[in-house]
């Protein structure tokens, strides 16, 4: 789950990482109140999860309430690369002496945490990596050891952070690492991490991505969930606890397992069709899950055929079949189903479907993935 900047800053604040005084606003009046509280001059920043806000006019400096009114009015509702701005973050403007970059992620290859620290911040870190890779310090951290204060200080020195800022940067690294680990982040990034003329080091931006598997131990994440922007199909899928990604094609896809779901998309594409979605019903999917999945697919007006691709491991073929029969009783499906069912209890499942008296115009069974994909794509044309 990716957080908006203002949520990231609020999350940072929980771990004592210094951020600018400010507040989030959804109306112009709220923005003015936030600016009054933060103290002028302020920066009004569009809250969208896409890069290039500044260039698009989504970040403006305001010296008084009138300027806040103008800028917030312009920015709220603005379309930045397809993202409509619903909120602005208004914060006290900082004087900047220098800009750095700091982030923690998991390096999957090394199976260790990775700190990236650079004295060249404020620009896209990919650009730095391309033009001047030597300017980025990459440090692997064993999760068992963590990041002691001395190691953080050494990292700041090794990254050639100017001496005046080294201690401040090291302090923030320790806090950011705690936020990354205890806060269950996939990514915790500060860009820019600034040095003020007065000597303090401070997070001017926040990019945080949370690991949804850890949601059970973070009740405070509930408020972040509320702002996740999903289309109607994705919302319905979330309510039903399904792994769903909306796409633009005409073949609705239901598969069990992320790999098989991806593979199903590939095969549909290979035989000349296009998928309307990615939907993984996961392991252990029962009748209810299948019925829910069909309801979500049915809510997509572009869907002309539905390809159910199930290979049973934990998921049992008889339960899947039961789910389809049940769903056909519950929902009036607009599109015909092509199913390919194999693995655990597949024969029982196929029998259930055969004996349910479903007309062939509504459901066809194929024995291989390719045949099923061809049939589904033909029906969608």
């Amino acid at each position: 789950m990716d957080l908006f900047e203002y949520q990231g800053k609020q999350y940072f604040a929980r771990y004592d990482i210094p951020v600018s005084k400010g507040d989030v606003a959804v109306t112009v009046d709220q923005a003015i109140a936030a600016a009054d509280a933060a103290g002028y001059p302020v920066v009004v920043k569009a809250q969208v999860q896409v890069g290039g806000r500044g260039k698009a006019g989504g970040i403006k400096l305001a010296n008084n309430a009138d300027e806040v009114r103008t800028h917030a009015g312009n920015i709220l509702g603005m379309d930045i690369k397809g993202h409509v701005v619903k909120r602005v973050w208004v914060e006290n403007a900082s004087d900047i002496a220098e800009e750095y970059y700091a982030s923690f992620t998991l390096d999957r290859g090394a199976k260790k945490h990775l700190l990236m620290l650079s004295r060249e911040g404020g620009v896209e870190i990919e650009e730095v990596a391309e033009k001047n890779p030597a300017a980025i310090l990459m440090l692997h951290i064993d999760p068992v050891d963590g990041l002691p204060a001395a190691a953080a200080k050494k990292a700041a020195v090794d990254a050639k952070i100017p001496e005046a800022a080294q201690q401040g940067v090291a302090d923030i690294l320790v806090k950011l690492y705690r936020c990354f680990v205890e806060g269950d982040c996939d990514l915790a990034e500060i860009n820019p991490l600034i040095l003020k003329p007065t000597g303090e080091v401070h997070a001017l931006d926040a990019k945080v991505s949370l690991d949804e598997n850890a949601e059970f131990r973070h009740p405070e994440w509930a408020e972040f969930q509320a702002t996740v922007e999903l289309d109607a199909r994705e919302l319905l899928a979330r309510e039903k606890g399904l792994q769903y990604i909306g796409l633009d094609g005409s073949v609705g896809i239901i598969a069990n397992g992320a790999g098989l779901a991806m593979s199903t998309l590939d095969v549909v594409n290979q035989v000349g069709g296009s998928a309307a979605n990615f939907l993984d019903i996961g392991g252990g999917a029962n009748a209810d899950v299948m019925a829910g999945a069909l309801e979500v697919i049915n809510s997509d007006k572009n869907v002309k055929s539905i390809f159910i691709n199930i290979f049973g491991g934990i998921t049992r073929g008889d339960e899947v079949a039961q789910g389809i029969v049940e769903a056909l009783g519950r929902v009036d499906l607009r599109a015909p189903i092509v199913i390919r069912l194999d693995g655990t209890n597949a024969a029982e499942g196929r029998d259930i479907l055969k004996n349910a008296g479903i007309p062939e115009s509504k459901l066809t069974s194929k024995s291989t993935m390719l045949e099923a994909a061809e049939a589904a794509v033909a029906l969608a044309k």
Partner: protein, 303 residues
């Protein structure tokens, strides 16, 4: 021969008294796996259809001499269960649990590396391992796995994706090709066992004559495997990578993009494997038929 597990492997099930644990534990037993005990804290002294249940892994190991464990407990308890098994002398741990936080996985993996270097963890979030006819630990439906033949050729399977592992088994069964061992390494960020670990074992296993590898987008495990194959694997291989048409998935932001440095796309992975001499199919069925060609070539060479 087979890799990691065979007919002599004694297995305990951590979580045998739970719904999934009971269902799959009993299925594994019915397949012929030596499921010798279950472990559920507080339920010691009971049994699940004749399989004795102990309060701790240490007690179960002491009573049965088990060396492998099948961990099927909820995400919150999985890390502790894995470390308990390692501490009690289990040397091969299969964890099928889905949804373990990445931070827990990273800490658990590195704790194993440091404190229990001889312990192998398979998973988490994997379908398990099956050496057909000998041992099945996990959630694979045993009947879809073709038994290896005494004179070969037999194929080893290693896969990052659960259902595609079954798909690969199924394709080989349709073609009548025997399987030495099929390992599902799982798709989580920090898998205990990598492609390379399995490739090394398959290369050394005299009963394995060729290898199928199933990968997917994200990370760089397939590219690393390709490097390893180029230098170390002489047995013929076919492969499939899922996700050619998948939308750019969960973005890790800028930092993530840098770590993978252009790696992680299906195309990049297929190119890397091809450059290492692997035959790459466009779907699982094609990877199966490419393997059929490889096997026919081996048979022709043998006769």
């Amino acid at each position: 021969m087979a890799i990691f597990v065979d007919q002599n492997t004694k297995v305990i099930v951590q979580g045998l008294t739970g719904g999934q644990g009971k269902y799959h534990g009993l299925r594994n037993k019915a397949y012929g796996t030596q499921i010798v005990a279950g472990v559920t804290p507080g339920k010691g002294g009971t049994d699940v259809e004749g399989i004795p249940v102990y309060n701790s892994v240490a007690e179960a190991v002491k009573a049965t001499g088990a060396t492998a464990s099948f961990v099927t407990v909820p995400p919150k308890a999985a890390s502790a269960a894995i470390l308990e098994a390692a501490g009690a002398g289990i040397t091969f741990i299969v964890c099928i649990t889905e949804g373990i936080p990445a931070q827990d996985e990273a800490r658990t993996y590195n704790t194993l590396v440091r404190d229990f270097p001889k312990v192998r963890l398979l998973g988490p979030n994997c379908p398990g391992i099956i050496s057909p006819g000998k041992c099945n630990i996990g959630i694979t439906a045993g009947e879809i796995a073709q038994l290896p033949s005494a004179k070969g050729p037999n194929v080893g399977i290693v896969s990052r994706s659960g259902t595609l592992t079954y798909q690969a088994l199924y394709e080989l069964k349709q073609l009548g090709i025997g399987v030495s061992t099929c390992v599902g390494i799982g798709g989580d960020p920090v898998p205990g066992t990598s492609f390379i670990d399995c490739l090394r074992e398959f290369q050394a296993d005299p009963e394995t004559h060729a290898i199928i590898m199933i990968g997917e987008i994200g990370g760089s495990a397939e590219e690393e495997a390709a490097e390893f194959i180029k230098a170390n694997v002489t047995k013929p291989m076919s492969a499939y990578i899922a996700g050619v048409t998948a939308p750019a998935g969960k973005k890790m932001g800028h930092a993530g993009a840098i770590v993978s440095g252009g790696k992680g796309t299906a195309q990049g992975k297929m190119d890397a494997l091809r450059a290492a001499g692997v035959l790459v199919g466009h779907n699982p069925t094609e990877a199966g038929s490419l393997m059929a060609g490889i096997v026919a070539g081996i048979v022709a060479g043998l006769s």
